[in-house]
């Protein structure tokens, strides 16, 4: 018999009511907004951090089907650092591993010299100088922007040749670095290759400010030492990395004469282990923030419900008057319910928009890895709307159940 749309009327009336009391509306929705914002942001930072960690490790290590051997015991965790190099790992150790451990297909080695000085026609700077075996680039899967890696012959002849990172090529040579000369730590090298850009490593520093020269050259002509700082083992079957890790550990212990309780003077790690270590720190914080977001949504729901209950009792005269001029029980129910739903919708939208905007702005301005996780953001919005539906229903039911006669008597 009635052709009008109860929900359209309710929307119209509720929207007007909310507009008339802006501060009440904001107070109702604020906590929900914060909840959506917190969830969006934490997942964005978490998602970004996870992607960032993985990407930076991949950039640094080149490949994941490898094992890493570093000198120094378990007390010295983490990546090779300046000063942390202990003279315990030698090229002979690595050659023995390559020859004796069956799952090792190939092994590359590196000597590192941090804060090596660069001098190019009076332009100065510092870089990391790597003395690497010729297979280093292939094992890492390094791409070349120009030129090529040095050869085994170059290595054997202790040639003064270098492959440089893209930062070096850009800063010192304006991009055209091939065949140019570079002076690193007082030694002249001829550039034969330029690496494709890698971006930032796990520590945030550029991985493109490097100079790679043959390890034989650094052993005899630059560092004048035999010990190495890093070996990379390419595995035949990457899935068996744990067994291989054990085999490698046993072999080096034998070679170094280490017996328990003596601690290892080297460390064998897998890329997965490194990433897990980083990601763990990250996820504790993330989880805390994530639950703060959910807590805010729950509290927001309680706030909406209680303010709507208050409204149901303070607006009895309005309810009675509307009933008198023709509003049905359903009209009042819908009006109050829709009020809570509009609040929840606006809060969800505001929180999501703020969250996405802050994510983008943060990623751009602070150069931290952030990525919006759309399923999470949309999920948080859906939950917020659900909270509004739930928090609005019971107050709305109470408002509607008010008999018009008694609602109006409060006025007289």
């Amino acid at each position: 018999m009635r052709s009008r749309d109860v929900w359209a009327t309710a929307y119209h009336v509720a929207a007007r009511t909310l507009r008339r009391s802006k501060w009440r509306s904001i107070a109702m929705g604020l906590t929900l907004t914060i909840g959506v914002l917190a969830i969006t942001l934490t997942v964005a930072t978490g998602e970004g951090a996870r992607r960032g960690v993985e990407k930076s490790f991949r950039s640094m290590l080149g490949a994941f089907d490898i094992l890493l051997i570093q000198p120094g015991g378990p007390a010295m965790r983490g990546m090779a650092r300046p000063g942390s190099s202990v003279a315990t790992l030698t090229p002979d150790d690595i050659r023995a591993i390559a020859a004796q451990v069956p799952n090792v297909r190939d092994a590359s080695m590196a000597q590192t010299g941090f804060r090596a000085t660069i001098d190019v026609d009076g332009k100065n700077g510092t870089t990391t100088l790597f003395g690497v075996t010729p297979n280093w680039f292939a094992l890492r899967g390094d791409a070349f922007a120009a030129g090529s890696p040095f050869s085994a012959d170059d290595a054997n002849s202790m040639a003064r040749v270098a492959v440089v990172g893209s930062d070096i090529a850009r800063i010192y040579y304006g991009g055209n670095a091939i065949d140019q000369h570079i002076r690193v730590s007082g030694n002249d090298f001829q550039i034969v290759g330029v690496l494709a850009p890698h971006g930032a490593g796990p520590g945030g520093a550029s991985l493109d400010n490097v100079v790679d020269v043959p390890m034989e050259t650094t052993r005899r002509r630059v560092f004048n030492r035999d010990n190495i700082e890093l070996a990379t083992l390419k595995l035949v079957r990457p899935a068996d990395w744990a067994e291989t890790q054990a085999a490698v550990t046993t072999l080096i212990r034998e070679r170094h004469g280490i017996r328990p309780p003596t601690l290892d003077d080297f460390q064998v790690t897998s890329p997965e282990a490194l990433i897990t270590r980083y990601a763990k720190v990250d996820s504790t914080l993330r989880r805390a923030f994530f639950w703060v977001g959910f807590l805010a949504l729950a509290i927001g729901g309680v706030i909406v419900a209680s303010l709507m209950f208050t409204a149901a009792s303070t607006r009895r005269v309005e309810i009675g008057t509307r009933r008198a001029v023709g509003a049905t029980h359903g009209d009042i129910l819908a009006q109050f319910w829709v009020e809570a739903m509009i609040i929840a919708c606006m809060a969800a939208l505001t929180g999501a928009v703020l969250g996405v905007a802050l994510t983008q702005a943060g990623a751009r301005m602070m150069r931290i890895p952030l990525a919006v996780s759309w399923p999470t953001t949309i999920g948080a919005m859906a939950i917020t709307f659900g909270v509004g539906v739930l928090a609005g229903y019971f107050p709305a039911r109470r408002a509607a159940s008010e008999s018009p006669a008694s609602a109006l008597r409060t006025a007289e």
Partner: protein, 244 residues
């Protein structure tokens, strides 16, 4: 137009049931101006709310324009109120922070067809409040607010106007103006039922019904302006204090 038969209303909210209306039967014909008077607790407001279908009688029957009203559902009753009744309250019951025009248009929200704004302009003109169209209730005097409320009651062109102490919050002069307006509307054919405790206000109606303890104790027709000595009875006077 209205036929109430053996209406009884008992409130059971408290431990001891309160009989608001004991046994009320009354007929009101179209075009009448009826005042319902009585002391506080006499049942006059309950009677008005039953007439306005805001409350249902415990027993008894209610016929409006030949239609049985008791037993109708919420949706039908709401539509009935929307189309055939207008309400005027003591405290005006205007929505705050809402313009006079929007207040007047409120019943249209609950009508089947959209309400033309021209109707609002016309009815506001009729009650002499068109110059306040865009004002908020807080910017208007009590008399002006009550005129807006009357415009809201008239916008759906009802046949019955129900007024509960419409002058209760107004000074004597303003109350008189409002009563003049109601009398005018009645002359134009609108049926009006008005509840008041004030004998002077009640006297403006053409028919006076007096309630006491849920019974009709007096039901008299008067020519306009005539005063009835019994209404000046100090017993009725004493009920003035309930206006506060």
């Amino acid at each position: 137009m209205i036929e109430l038969t053996n209406i009884r209303k008992v409130y059971r909210a408290t431990e001891r049931p309160v009989v608001a209306l004991a046994d009320v039967s009354v007929k009101i014909t179209a075009g009448e101006f009826v005042s319902i008077m009585g002391t506080s607790g006499s049942g006059k407001t309950t009677l008005l709310q039953i007439l306005g279908t805001l409350d249902a009688p415990t027993t008894g029957s209610y016929q409006l324009n030949g239609q049985r009203v008791d037993g109708l559902g919420d949706v039908e009753l709401s539509a009935l109120r929307n189309r055939t009744m207008g309400f005027v309250f003591q405290s005006f019951n205007l929505l705050s922070r809402t313009t006079a025009l929007e207040n007047v248009l409120m019943p249209g929200l609950y009508a089947d067809a959209a309400l033309p704004r021209a109707d609002a302009a016309e009815v506001m003109e009729r009650v002499g409040i068109s110059h306040r169209r865009t004002h908020f209730p807080s910017e208007m005097s009590g008399g002006e607010q009550q005129r807006v409320a009357i415009a809201r009651a008239l916008i759906m062109r009802p046949s019955l106007l129900l007024a509960d102490e419409p002058t209760g919050n107004l000074d004597a002069a303003t109350g008189d103006q409002i009563m003049n307006l109601l009398a005018e509307l009645n002359r134009d054919g609108l049926t009006i039922v008005l509840v008041t405790h004030d004998p002077l206000i009640g006297a403006r109606a053409g028919r006076h019904i007096t309630l006491r303890d849920g019974h009709i104790v007096r039901d008299e027709a008067h020519t306009s302006g005539a005063t009835n000595e019994s209404l000046r009875d100090p017993r009725h006077r004493s009920t003035m204090e309930e206006a506060s």
